[in-house]
């Protein structure tokens, strides 16, 4: 069993009227099965309203399953006595960087998690320093978060989670409100944490480009997992993705169009370099044939 395992996970948002009668039920998660291995970089892709944020909140035990079970680090999220163990094991980074930074000094914000966990003062300082260093924000430790860029704020938020020494970090569309530079910074920081510290990453996003480097991808639509596999497997199915209102990375799309136009390119090309290499190879073969 992996670090995060969902079995037939269901979540229903129930809207009640004033008397408490059920007015409508909206199923946000419908029998989701997941198994995420420790140390992996997993991406969850989905269009707006696909249930991916609801899933993120479940992993942090912020929501309770309506049906089915979810195990985080071997603990059932329904079991209240494990609530804080789960939140310690699986840290969460939210979309809006402003709404998750609590303190008015960077280092104090990073220290907030360890303070809540009752970590001794001396160790808090060590953790704060280490986690700020791991996201490359150490030199901003005495700054006010209000003066940082979006990407920097989001990195501070990641450092704040890192200081709690989680086994796993869930990032719920961490780049949705950032400019391209900020997005790059944040992704770089996340990849570094995954590779150097071995932290399991669950990245929830709707940007295809961010998924390319993941180890495994889940595609969600209307509350269910509709596709899963490596990025190459996923992106080789351009038409299925389009059915779920998702795009593919531009390079993959270009390669797909070229293939449809008659060029014998393989499926699932993800990066510019790959397409480059394939085209050069193709040209060489053609040149050989004609001579």
């Amino acid at each position: 069993m992996g670090i995060i395992k969902a079995c037939k996970l269901v979540h229903e948002y129930i809207r009640r009227d004033e008397e408490g009668n059920v007015e409508s039920i909206q199923t946000a998660l419908n029998a989701v099965d997941l198994d995420i291995k420790a140390g992996d970089f997993v991406a969850v892709l989905g269009h707006n309203g696909s249930g991916k944020s609801t899933l993120a909140k479940h992993i942090n035990a912020l929501l309770e399953p309506s049906e089915g079970t979810l195990f985080v680090d071997g603990k059932d999220t329904k079991d209240l006595k494990y609530l804080y163990d789960i939140r310690r094991a699986a840290g969460m980074v939210f979309q809006n960087p402003d709404n998750q930074i609590i303190a008015s000094v960077v280092e104090e914000d990073v220290g907030f998690g360890p303070e809540n966990m009752g970590v001794p003062t001396k160790e808090i300082w060590q953790r704060v320093e280490e986690s700020l260093k791991s996201v490359g924000m150490l030199k901003y430790r005495n700054h006010s978060p209000n003066k940082l860029s979006g990407g920097q704020k989001q990195r501070v938020a990641i450092a704040g989670v890192m200081a709690m020494e989680p086994k796993c970090i869930i990032l719920d569309e961490p780049t949705a409100m950032l400019d391209p530079v900020g997005r790059k910074e944040v992704l770089q920081a996340v990849h570094t944490l995954n590779k150097k510290k071995g932290v399991t990453i669950v990245l929830i996003t709707h940007y295809m480009e961010e998924v390319v480097d993941a180890d495994y991808v889940y595609v969600m639509d209307k509350g269910s997992v509709v596709m899963q596999g490596t990025p190459r497997e996923i992106f080789s199915q351009v038409d299925t993705l389009k059915e779920h209102r998702l795009d593919v990375p531009q390079i993959t799309l270009l390669a797909d169009e070229l293939r449809k136009a008659g060029l014998p390119l393989p499926k699932g090309i993800l990066t510019r370099e790959e397409l480059d290499a394939e085209l050069v190879e193709l040209y060489r073969r053609k040149a050989c044939q004609s001579f």
């Binding site: 008015s104 104090e108 808090i124 209000n146």
Partner: protein
């Protein structure tokens, strides 16, 4: 337009006063205010002046910063002085014209009241200039901790204060954005009488409140995700501990206040 509001007026410098525990500074401000209304006569006045000058010197904050705070209360000071000047009854009449009389006592009272007010403002601004809002919140939390035995939610109040401090600049920026957005749609925030202007604020306040509530909701969730469960079992990254200089400051304070009281008793 809204951007030039600065919160607090902390003046960063490396001085003994800056380094003092915020609790000491809170206490000292309180004692100083009490002393201003206790002292009597020239000697007491001298002592209060000397104390203030010494503290200002120690704080390394330029005197002009202290005086800045006076501007906002200049009207209050003028009114106080005028009332004291004309309305104090007394034997020795200095000036008498029409229905107004100025007595010797009135003059004395006016001067003392004025001095007291000025010292009050300058004295308290020494605290705000040398203490960051965060330190102040921390100091208040720790100083008021005994009240939590009486079920006063001291930790929650301090947490709310520090979150408010963090979000005020964000909300100000947001107000600015909403204002511009509404102005682009033809809203008018500057013309008309007070009632009309207040009415025109509605399209500004409604979105601002909606967004503030949304932020509060998000923040609460983010805090919960980071294991926040209130003050219990929490450790501090920057705990407050009294140093020897803090005890020395308390001693200094006691001597000063005792001096003021003794002068009042023996010289009055």
């Amino acid at each position: 337009m809204l951007r030039d509001i600065t919160l607090g007026q902390y003046y960063p410098a490396d001085s003994v006063i800056h380094k003092l525990d915020p609790r000491v500074k809170l206490m000292a401000t309180l004692v100083y205010i009490m002393s201003l209304f206790t002292f009597r006569g020239a000697a007491g006045f001298m002592l209060a002046t000397v104390f203030m000058i010494v503290v200002i010197r120690l704080s390394k904050v330029p005197f002009s910063y202290m005086v800045k705070g006076l501007k906002t209360v200049i009207i209050l000071m003028a009114i106080t002085a005028v009332f004291n000047l004309f309305l104090t009854p007394g034997e020795e009449v200095l000036v008498h014209f029409w229905k107004l009389t100025i007595t010797m006592e009135g003059l004395k009272n006016a001067v003392f009241m004025l001095v007291r007010l000025i010292y009050l403002i300058v004295g308290t601004s020494v605290m705000t200039l040398t203490t960051t809002p965060n330190q102040l919140t921390d100091g208040l939390e720790k100083a008021l901790m005994p009240l939590s035995k009486l079920k006063v939610p001291v930790h929650a109040i301090a947490m709310m204060m520090s979150i408010a401090l963090r979000f005020i600049p964000i909300l100000i920026e947001e107000t600015d954005i909403i204002m511009k957005a509404q102005m682009a749609r033809g809203a008018d925030f500057e013309n008309g009488n007070i009632i009309k202007r207040a009415k025109n604020m509605v399209p500004l306040l409604v979105p601002l409140f909606v967004s503030a509530f949304r932020r509060a909701d998000d923040l609460a969730m983010a805090m919960e995700a980071r294991c926040y469960i209130g003050g219990e079992g929490r450790t501090k990254m920057k705990p407050l501990h009294y140093q020897s200089r803090d005890y020395l400051a308390y001693l200094f304070l006691i001597v000063y206040f005792a001096g003021i009281i003794l002068l009042r008793i023996f010289l009055a």
